[in-house]
Structure formats: structure tokens, C-alpha cells
Subunit: 461 residues, 2 copies
């Protein structure tokens, strides 16, 4: 048991030094998607290993068939939980470079409004700045107390922005070494500048590509129109049947395993005060397109969807061609929640489509991924500890939110390490990650460090 | 009034000479789409003018901004009709050349089965062989009787295979010179080897491109799926609503002006014995997709359609992208029959679409062409004369058929010259026009000449 206050003081006192370290890490252009930067990725990994060793971690660069992993271990007092902290040191490419106001690899601290400063540069928010908030919290703990409040394993990946090809084999091969009581994943954000958030649910995903085939060649619509089956018409009928007039998915069994969100959670989301007009207005829309009678936050956080991500068939160039295509195809994806079963959803969808294909036509399916939803139990003790710790640091109490999309690492930790994740991060929606002029709030970086100190302290108790 | 029998005899006796002339014309590579062959196109026009002059026509090459026209005039006995004969001397390119069994410009007469000979080469069927059947009939008439049975104007075009850019201006500029009582258009075919045909109807066409716009940018389906409007879903709903479960178009007013085909015509079509299995089997299908309870011939010849010729939206590359597109679009065309009004159909369709677009989304339309159907009155006297004349020549009586597609020249004659067309030709479905190894049956060429002699004789009476 250690005292928190001096750790927080140390973080305040060490802010400038921590900014220098972050600037050093940002300076390494560790772009994982471009093979030309492979050596820079390794350099970032080595930089992190050196820094973690300096703090007192047993740290090493671990080779993979792609960019290396960083793994670090530090003991904690007996009786405290063992946590795995995950982040990634690779960054997105920076083009178009001419859209940047500053050199993307030369981090600047800029005052953008009275009392509000931001750190600019590629990776400041995604994910170098975020992961360093945790490293700085550990550093301060060690400095003040000579120890960490609990046992910590760190895993930094170098391929998050390029599909994480080495991650699953690495988790599988090192499951024993990496397994902890739970994971802390920092690749997420706050509700708003004043309100910290813990993501407790992530929707799952099933992707399907369907190709409807009719005649054995493209036909002239003058010669065959009105007699020959048109695959675009068949496909349109299939897709149009997927939702009813109330936006509900009509595929039999689709809602099996979907639970109603507890009313206190719905109330919490309601209290965030985000209207449909506000949420959709930002993208030029105003009317929620999903199930009627549910708020936009419930729709994107706690309800499953069927979306059509792409469609193509026939002549799509300039002008006109009076053709009846031989085939047409669509990419369809389902966002899953709670206990929906990806395999059952896929099977039900395929049966639903097959039923609607005329006897002289055919359909082919191609599956793309399938992952169940992730749902943290709302009554988990470490969840309430983290929530209270965050609420102590920020102007407003922490909220439990969900994410409409998936974060693959969370599913992978569950699959390969049998471990749940607590998703806490300090990014903001306007951080422009993956875009020119990425930034991270100075308050995110500073109060983020303090938040981790508080969370580690709370978890250890 | 002249006697027909000696003209037919002269055609029989002159067959070899007529084949030599056709071979001379085929030898000129008058490919209109390739500027490298411009001089050859002119040479073909000059060859035709010389030949028509030899027969006794007042003939000339007429310059246009593209390839020249051939116009020829010949007087006829007072009280006989004035007919305009139309054909085209230009041909399709010949590539891939290695697919040809013989030089495409060196016409051969080949025996392909006992008693069945074909003429091989580019343009033998489309359209040099066809137009020469008419020229040879005129030649024989003049030779035997020193006169033609009626007044004849000939128009040969050199841009039919390249979109006829000069045709409309030429018709407009020379309307007075070219206007006749009706036109004979030879660019069509027989029902089968033994059954001549007159095309009495051509479907019209309305093309529309619609683009549904939702959010002002592409969205991540994780972040917005279930809340934001998806333009592919909206487009699918619109297209799926165009046909009811019986294949009937649901657009209000769509069938205004559509007439039921006279029962004797339906019976004639029925007697042709073409089953849906046979017609569709050839393209790998078996079930008619149009209005239920109508034969395939009625569907493609006498019923209007709505066809979807192309559709595109969202991510259509390899793999998967969980995007909600900002827009999606489709190309839609309507084949029109009888008195359907292209403008009204277009307006009705646009209203139909607009009604189905959510209030926060929009739709844009782009019109592509619009032409009404062409329908010869079944009781026209020159139609029955031509039908009887054809029936006298061939093993089986002539049938009145229709065409699912449009032949622009027929509409142009109606628009610019106020003149109906009688469509008679001797091509067969297996003539491979536009493809390697184009051929024309020797029987088409020989009996085609005799058929025109009979038709001219009948029209003059």
C-alpha cells in the first residue's frame, strides 16, 4: 500500500520532462504500413525498451515476422492484481504532407485557446501519447515509492495500423507469459473534454459478400429485357427485405441473444444529452435510420445492425449502356451486441438470401470475418474502482459508454488469453487521428498520467 | 405495270455476277470507327454510286462532316408509291483477326452443309449483303423492263457502326429531297432460315441515372451504423419497389398508352413455337422474369419493362471495408411500347423515387435519351402487300414480329421525314455480325433479291 498524493505531485513536477520524452518518441517515424520505415519501427520499439528498463521493467524487443513487439514485466506486492497494459507504437502514414501546418514528427506544444494547449504531430493521440500516459504513471510511482502498486505486464505492438498480422500468433505463443487478471487498453477516448469514459461494450462484426448470378453472360436489355432475370433487381429485392419499415432487421433469429440495456445505463446515456439532431447534424443528416423508439446512443452502442457497405453490378461508367448484367454483388455487414452468435447470424442471413433467389439463378457467398460482441459486466469490481478513480481526477464523473465498432485486440485477449479488458483512454473526437494535423490535448496527456496513477492505486486496494 | 416472272428469272441467271459485285464491295475495308479507314469508306461510297449510276440511278456521293452519304434517285410510273430504301455501307472492325478462318475482306462462297452455302466476310450480313439484295432487284427490273416498278430513292449511310453522327443533320437538311411515302429498312432479319419476317414494332427507351445522397461524407459503419441513413439501403428499397411480385411495374401511370396486342398477332407469335425454356435456356436461364401470364415473345416485343442496367455504391474492391457510403447510384432504363410517353414515364419515375427518399437525404437525376416506341399499324396496306410477297418466295409464310430494342433510323425517319418504315431483311441470328467469321446465307442473298423484286412488284400494284 502506497500513498497516491506524492505520485500525483511527481507527475505534475515532471510534466516538462515527460513532454520531452514523448517528443523523442514522436520524432521516430514508425509508419508500419510502409516497408521503407521498417527500421524506424524497430527504433521506436528499442526506444521504448530502453525507457522501460530505465524505469525498472524487465523489457525486451521481441521479433515477429513483421514489426517487433515490446514486452515488459514488473513485479507488484503480493495480493494485488496482475494487469496487462496494451498500446501500439506504430503510426499512420502522414500524406498528404502539404496539409500539415507543422512537421508531423516534430512535436509542438501549442496554445490553441486561453488555457488550452495541444501537442501536435503524428502519433500524439494515436497511440504514442496515450501509451506514454501509462508509462509516465509507472515512472512516477517507482520514483516516489521505489515500487509499483501492482504487478504489471506491458505489451506494445508495432502493427496496429497495418492489420496486426503478427499479434494472434504472438499471443498464442506467449499466452503463459502474457496472461494477467485483466487488460488495460488505452486506445480509446473520453466522452468530452471534461468527462472521462470507460468503454464497457464493443459491437461484434459479421461480414458477408453476396453475388447473385443470373444469365451466363451480359445481355442486351432490348433483346432480353422483360424476359431474362436481372441480378440487380434480385439483389435489390433481397437487400430491401432485410429491414422492415421500422428499421428492424427481419432475418429470422437475428435478435436472439440481444438483451435490453439496463435502465440505469440508458438513463446515464440519456444524461449525456446527445440529441439525434446533434449527432447526425454533424454529418449532414437528422433522422435516425435504425429501430424506431431508441436513442442514437442506444442504436450505435447497444443495438445490432445490418449495413450495406458496397454494391456493384452492370454498367457503372459514364453515360448509359442498355445491358442486363450476368451478376451483381453486395457487401453486407452486421454489427452484433451482447450474446448474438456470429455463425448463427451468418447462416440465418444466407438462408434468408437463398429463399429470395429465383430457381434459375444462383447466389455465392464469401464470408469476411466474424467476431462476437464484447460486453463487460456492469457489476465488475475493477470497473467501479476505475470509474471512481477517473471521477476523482476530472471535472465531471466518469461515464460508462460503449463503442459502435470493434477493437480487435479486446477480442484477441479474450480468445487467446481468456482475459477481459478495461478500455480507458483520453483521446477526443477532434484529435484528427489518421489525418493531417493530429493532436493530443495537453490536459489529456497530463491528467491522463494522473488518471492512471489513480486507477493503479485503486486497483491495488 | 410490269411482269414479275422474267425479273425473277433474270435474278436467278445473274446470281454469279451479283456475287462478284458483292465480293468487290466486301473487299473495300470500310471500317467507320477507325479514322485510318476514312479513305476506304469514301471508296465504298464511290463504288456504290458508280454501280447505281450503271443501273440508271441519278446517284451521288454527299459529303458530311464524317463519312459521306450515298443518295440515288430513280423515277417510277405515275400513281405508284415513292419508297426510300435505307442501308449502310460501313462495317465493324475485324479484330481479333486471328479468330477469323478466312480473310475477312476476301469473300468466299462455302458449302457448310449439303445444299447450304454461305458467303463469308465482314459486312456480308451487316449490311453490304443485305443492301445489295435491293440493288440487284432494281438492276434486274431495269434490265428486263427498262424501268423500275415504282419511284425509288436510296440512302446509304457510312456511319451506322459509329453512332451515325451525321445522319440527323443530313436528314434535316435534305428532308425535301429524301421524303418518300415510306421507307424500306433492310437492317433486320428473318424469324428462321425458312420464315421471312417483317418487324412491325420497336420498343422505345427512357434512360435515367439516379444518385441517392445521404451523409456529407463516407462514414465508419461502427461509429454510425444503425443511426445514419445508408444510401445503398435507400436505393435498394426504391429499386425493389419498382416491380410487384408478378413482375408488373408499379410506377403510377406506367402502363398508360400500353395496348393489348391483337389476339391474331399473339396467335401468330404462339405459332412460332418458341418456348421460354428454349429462349432463356440458350443464356442459362429458364423462368421468365417479366409480367406473369405472358409469353416470352410478348414480353420482349409488346410489353414495357423497367430494367436496372447498373448500380454502384460504397466499397466495391477486394476484401471488406466497414463504410457507410455518402451516396449510391443506379442506371435504370424503361423499354416503351405503343403510345407510352417517354416524358411522362420519366416524370412518373422521378416522383416515384422522390417519394421514397427520407427527408434528410436527397436524390439527383440525370436523364439519358428518351424515344417513344414505334408501332406500325397492323392494317397498313403496304404491310399486307409485303407480307404476301415474302410468303410467295419462302418455304413458310411471312410473320409479323417485333423487336425488343430500338433501331434509331426508324425513329429518325419518323421525326425528320414524317415517314413510317417497313423493316425487312434476310439476316439470321447466327450470322455473327460484329464478330469474327461473319457470314450471310447464299439463300438470304439470292432469295432476298427475289423477295425485293416481289415486294416492289406488289407495292406498285
Amino acid at each position: 500500500m502506497t500513498s497516491l498524493a506524492p505520485v500525483l505531485d511527481a507527475l505534475d513536477a515532471g510534466l516538462d520532462a515527460s513532454l520531452t520524452r514523448l517528443a523523442d518518441l514522436v520524432r521516430i517515424p514508425s509508419i508500419s504500413t510502409d516497408p521503407a520505415y521498417a527500421a524506424e519501427c524497430r527504433r521506436a520499439a528499442e526506444w521504448l525498451v530502453a525507457d522501460l528498463k530505465e524505469i525498472g521493467f524487465e523489457a525486451s524487443v521481441r521479433d515477429t515476422t513483421g514489426h517487433p513487439m515490446v514486452v515488459a514485466h514488473h513485479e507488484g506486492p503480493a495480493g494485488t492484481p496482475h494487469v496487462l497494459f496494451y498500446g501500439h507504437y506504430d503510426v499512420q502514414p502522414v500524406d498528404p504532407l502539404n496539409m500539415w501546418h507543422d512537421d508531423p514528427f516534430d512535436m509542438k506544444v501549442k496554445e490553441v485557446a486561453p488555457g488550452r494547449k495541444v501537442l501536435t504531430g503524428r502519433g500524439t493521440a494515436d497511440d504514442k501519447g496515450q501509451l506514454m500516459t501509462f508509462v509516465e504513471a509507472c515512472r512516477a510511482y517507482k520514483k516516489v515509492h521505489g515500487a509499483l502498486p501492482c504487478r504489471i505486464t506491458i505489451l506494445f505492438e508495432g502493427e496496429e495500423e497495418s492489420g496486426s498480422p503478427s499479434l494472434k500468433p504472438f499471443l498464442e505463443a506467449h499466452a503463459k507469459e502474457l496472461k494477467a487478471d485483466f487488460a488495460l487498453v488505452c486506445d480509446t477516448g473520453m466522452w468530452d473534454r471534461d468527462t472521462p469514459a470507460i468503454s464497457t461494450a464493443l459491437r461484434g462484426l459479421v461480414g458477408e459478400e453476396i453475388t447473385v448470378k443470373a444469365a451466363d453472360r451480359d445481355l442486351h436489355s432490348g433483346a432480353y429485357g422483360g424476359a431474362a432475370a436481372n441480378p440487380i433487381r434480385i439483389l435489390a429485392k433481397v437487400l430491401a427485405a432485410v429491414h422492415d419499415d421500422n428499421g428492424r432487421v427481419t432475418i429470422p433469429g437475428f435478435y436472439d441473444g440481444v438483451e435490453e440495456t439496463p435502465s440505469q445505463i440508458l438513463k446515464q446515456w440519456e444524461s449525456l444529452g446527445l440529441t439525434a439532431e446533434e449527432f447526425l447534424g454533424e454529418i449532414g443528416l437528422s433522422i435516425p435510420s435504425g429501430e424506431k423508439g431508441r436513442s442514437v446512443l442506444e442504436l450505435i452502442w447497444a443495438r445490432p445492425t445490418a449495413e450495406f457497405n458496397g454494391i456493384i453490378g452492370g454498367y457503372t461508367g459514364k453515360g448509359f449502356k442498355t445491358v442486363i448484367a450476368a451478376e451483381a454483388s453486395a457487401k453486407v455487414s452486421f454489427r452484433l451486441v451482447h450474446k448474438q452468435d456470429p455463425d448463427k447470424i451468418r447462416d440465418a442471413f444466407r438462408a434468408f438470401v437463398r429463399e429470395r433467389i429465383p430457381a434459375d439463378c444462383s447466389v455465392e457467398f464469401h464470408g469476411h470475418g466474424g467476431s462476437p460482441a464484447i460486453q463487460l459486466s456492469y457489476d465488475s469490481p475493477f470497473l467501479s474502482k476505475a470509474k471512481n478513480a477517473l471521477s476523482d481526477e476530472w471535472p465531471k464523473p466518469a461515464v460508462m459508454i460503449a463503442m459502435g465498432g470493434s477493437i480487435p485486440i479486446v477480442g484477441d485477449f479474450q480468445t487467446y488469453l481468456g482475459m477481459e479488458s478495461l478500455l480507458v483512454g483520453y483521446g477526443l473526437d477532434d484529435d484528427r487521428i489518421h489525418s493531417p494535423n493530429e493532436k493530443y490535448e495537453l490536459s489529456s496527456f497530463h491528467k491522463g498520467q494522473r488518471s492512471w496513477a489513480r486507477i493503479l492505486d485503486a486497483l491495488a486496494k
